[in-house]
C-alpha cells in the first residue's frame, strides 16, 4: 500500500491550501506555487493528504493510492 501525491501544474493556480493543510510535504516557492519535495506520502499523513486533495479549489492535487 503506497500513496503518491502529484500536482497538476497546468491546473494549479497557487491558492496555497495544500501548503496550509500539509506543511509536512509542501512548501511554497517565491511565487506561491507548491513545491513537493517528496511525492511518496508516509502512512500517517495519508489522511491529511486526502483532505488537501479535497480542498484544492482547482482540483490540481492528485493522490494515487494502490
Amino acid at each position: 500500500m503506497s500513496a503518491v501525491l502529484r500536482v497538476n501544474p497546468i491546473a494549479c493556480e497557487a491558492h496555497g491550501l495544500c501548503v496550509e493543510l500539509l506543511p509536512e510535504l509542501f512548501r511554497l516557492d517565491d511565487w506561491g506555487y507548491p513545491i513537493l519535495d517528496q511525492s511518496e506520502v508516509p502512512p500517517d499523513l495519508v489522511g491529511l493528504a486526502r483532505r488537501a486533495v479535497d480542498a484544492c479549489p482547482t482540483l490540481a492535487l492528485l493522490l494515487d493510492e494502490d
Binding site: 497538476n8 501544474p9 497546468i10 493556480e13 516557492d29 517565491d30 506555487y33 513545491i35
Partner: protein, 437 residues
C-alpha cells in the same frame, strides 16, 4: 538483386546530391534497396539488438517504445514528429525535405511493427518545402497498405513536445498536456500512439534492411551506429553532419570545417543542453557515457561552438530570455521561474548583478525542475546552471565593465539555421557528409 548496407559513412545521407530536390523513390530504392518485408516481432527484436535510441532529445530505447504500443488494442497511428522547434537544429528538416522516402520507410515499417495502418507526419509551421517534398513522396507510395498524411503544425519551442503534438492533432492547442497518460497509453483520438523523431525512423529503416549487426559496425558498444549532428557557431562550415558515435569532439568540429577562432566553450544538446568549457570538451567523444560525465546529453544533436571573441554570459542571457518567452504559459513555476531567471541573468550580463543574484538563480533553477507539465523548465534549468558554472568569471568581469566581446548571435527563433539547396560537399573521407547551413 540484394543490396548490402553501406560500409562506413554516410549511411542516412548516402546518395544525397547537391541541390534542393528531394530524393526520388527510384533513387532511394537504388541506394538502399526496396522496402523490406519483415515480421513485426522480428523487426522489434532487430531494433532492440541494434540498440537504437530516440533522436528527438529524450534518448529513449526505440524497441521499448515500439513494444509499449504493440502490445495494446486499437492501436492509433505512427506520428512522425518533424516539428524540430529547437532553433539551432536542422537535421529533421534535412531528412524530411531531402530524404522523405527514408523517413517514410521507417514510419511504414514502424506502423507494421505495432499493427497500425496509418502514418501522420507533423511538420512545423512555415515549411512549404517540407510539405511539398512529403506530399509528393507520399503520393508515389499510395499503393502501400499504410496511409500517409502530412500535417503542418504551429510555431513555438514547446509545440514540438510529444504531448503537445498529440494535443494539437486531436484538435487542441499546440501545448503540452499533463502526463501520464502518455501518448503510448492514450494518444491520437484516445488510442495508443507511437510518436517518433524523423531521424529515429530513418535509422530504423536501415536497421530493418541491413540488420542490427550491420548497424553496430559503427559507433561504440554502448552507443552504436551513426547520428546526425547539427554543428554551428564558430566553425568554418556550419551544417548537418552524419558521424559515428565515438567520434571525438575535435573530429566533430573538423567535420564542420574546424573552428574559425580559438574556442572557449561548446553548447552540447541545443538550448536544453549544457555548456562545456573548451578544455573539458576536447576530451569528450560523441558518446553518452562521455557526455554524462560532464552532465550533458546529445539532446537533439546540436553542437554550438563559442569562440573566444564572444561572450558566453551575454549569449546565455539571450538564450534564457528566449526560453522564458517560449514557455507555453501554462504552469506557474515555468512562467514565473523562467521569467525571474531570465531577468536575473540579463542583469548579470548588464553588469548590475553579482554573486547573490547568481545564487538565487541557482536556487530557482533547482526549484523549477520537474514542476512543469513538460520538460521545458527542466531543460532551461540545465542550460542556465551550466552557463553560470562555465561563465562564472564573466559575471564579475561584467560588473567591472570589462567585457569587450562581440555578439556571436546564437540562432534564436524559427528556422534560424537553414538547410538550403546550394553546395553539398562530400566529406566522406573525413567521416561526415555535409549540408551547409
Amino acid at each position: 538483386m540484394s543490396i548490402e548496407g553501406h560500409t562506413g559513412l554516410p549511411r542516412l545521407l548516402a546518395g544525397l546530391e547537391p541541390g534542393s530536390e528531394p530524393m526520388t523513390l527510384a533513387a532511394h530504392a537504388r541506394i538502399h534497396g526496396p522496402l523490406p518485408r519483415i515480421a513485426p516481432a522480428q523487426l522489434i527484436e532487430e531494433v532492440e539488438r541494434s540498440g537504437l535510441r530516440g533522436r528527438g532529445g529524450a534518448d529513449f530505447p526505440t524497441a521499448r517504445k515500439l513494444r509499449a504500443v504493440a502490445g495494446r488494442r486499437r492501436v492509433g497511428p505512427v506520428i512522425v514528429n518533424g516539428s524540430e522547434t529547437e532553433p539551432a537544429s536542422a537535421k529533421d528538416r534535412l531528412l524530411l525535405a531531402r530524404l522523405p522516402h527514408l523517413v517514410l520507410d521507417g514510419a511504414v515499417l514502424a506502423a507494421g511493427a505495432i499493427g497500425s495502418s496509418e502514418v501522420i507526419v507533423k511538420v512545423g509551421a512555415g515549411s512549404p518545402d517540407l510539405l511539398r517534398a512529403l506530399d509528393s513522396a507520399a503520393s508515389v507510395r499510395e499503393h502501400e497498405s499504410v496511409s500517409v498524411q502530412v500535417v503542418t503544425g504551429a510555431d513555438g519551442y514547446v509545440s514540438g513536445e510529444e504531448s503537445a503534438v498529440v494535443h494539437y492533432l486531436n484538435g487542441g492547442s499546440p501545448l503540452p498536456t499533463f502526463v501520464p497518460p502518455r501518448p503510448f497509453e492514450r494518444g491520437f483520438r484516445g488510442r495508443p500512439t507511437l510518436i517518433q523523431n524523423p531521424e529515429t525512423l530513418a535509422q530504423l529503416a536501415l536497421v530493418a534492411r541491413f540488420g542490427s549487426r550491420w548497424y553496430r559496425e559503427l559507433g561504440t558498444a554502448a552507443d552504436p551506429g551513426s547520428a546526425l549532428v547539427t554543428i554551428t557557431g564558430a566553425v568554418a562550415a556550419p551544417g548537418v553532419y552524419e558521424l559515428a558515435f565515438g567520434t571525438s569532439m575535435g573530429d566533430l568540429l573538423n567535420a564542420a570545417g574546424g573552428p574559425t577562432e580559438p574556442l572557449q566553450a561548446l553548447l552540447v544538446g541545443g538550448y536544453f543542453g549544457t555548456w562545456v568549457d573548451a578544455l573539458a570538451a576536447g576530451r569528450l567523444r560523441l558518446a553518452r557515457e562521455d557526455l554524462r560525465s560532464v552532465g550533458c546529453s546529445l539532446g537533439s544533436g546540436v553542437l554550438i561552438a563559442l569562440g573566444e571573441s564572444a561572450c558566453g554570459l551575454h549569449e546565455s542571457a539571450r538564450v534564457i530570455a528566449y526560453l522564458a518567452e517560449q514557455s507555453a504559459g501554462q504552469c506557474g513555476p515555468c512562467v514565473f521561474g523562467l521569467r525571474a531567471i531570465a531577468d536575473a541573468v540579463g542583469a548579470m550580463a548588464d553588469g548590475v548583478a553579482g554573486p547573490r543574484e547568481r545564487d538565487r538563480v541557482l536556487r530557482w533553477a533547482t526549484e523549477i525542475r520537474g514542476r512543469g507539465a513538460c520538460h521545458h523548465p527542466d531543460g532551461a534549468a540545465r542550460f542556465v546552471e551550466s552557463a553560470l558554472r562555465v561563465f562564472e568569471d564573466d559575471i564579475e568581469r561584467h560588473r567591472r565593465g570589462r567585457c569587450q566581446a562581440r555578439p556571436a548571435g546564437l540562432p534564436l527563433g524559427e528556422g534560424a539555421v537553414r538547410v538550403p539547396g546550394g553546395r553539398l560537399a562530400d566529406l566522406r573521407k573525413r567521416g561526415g557528409a555535409r549540408v551547409p547551413a
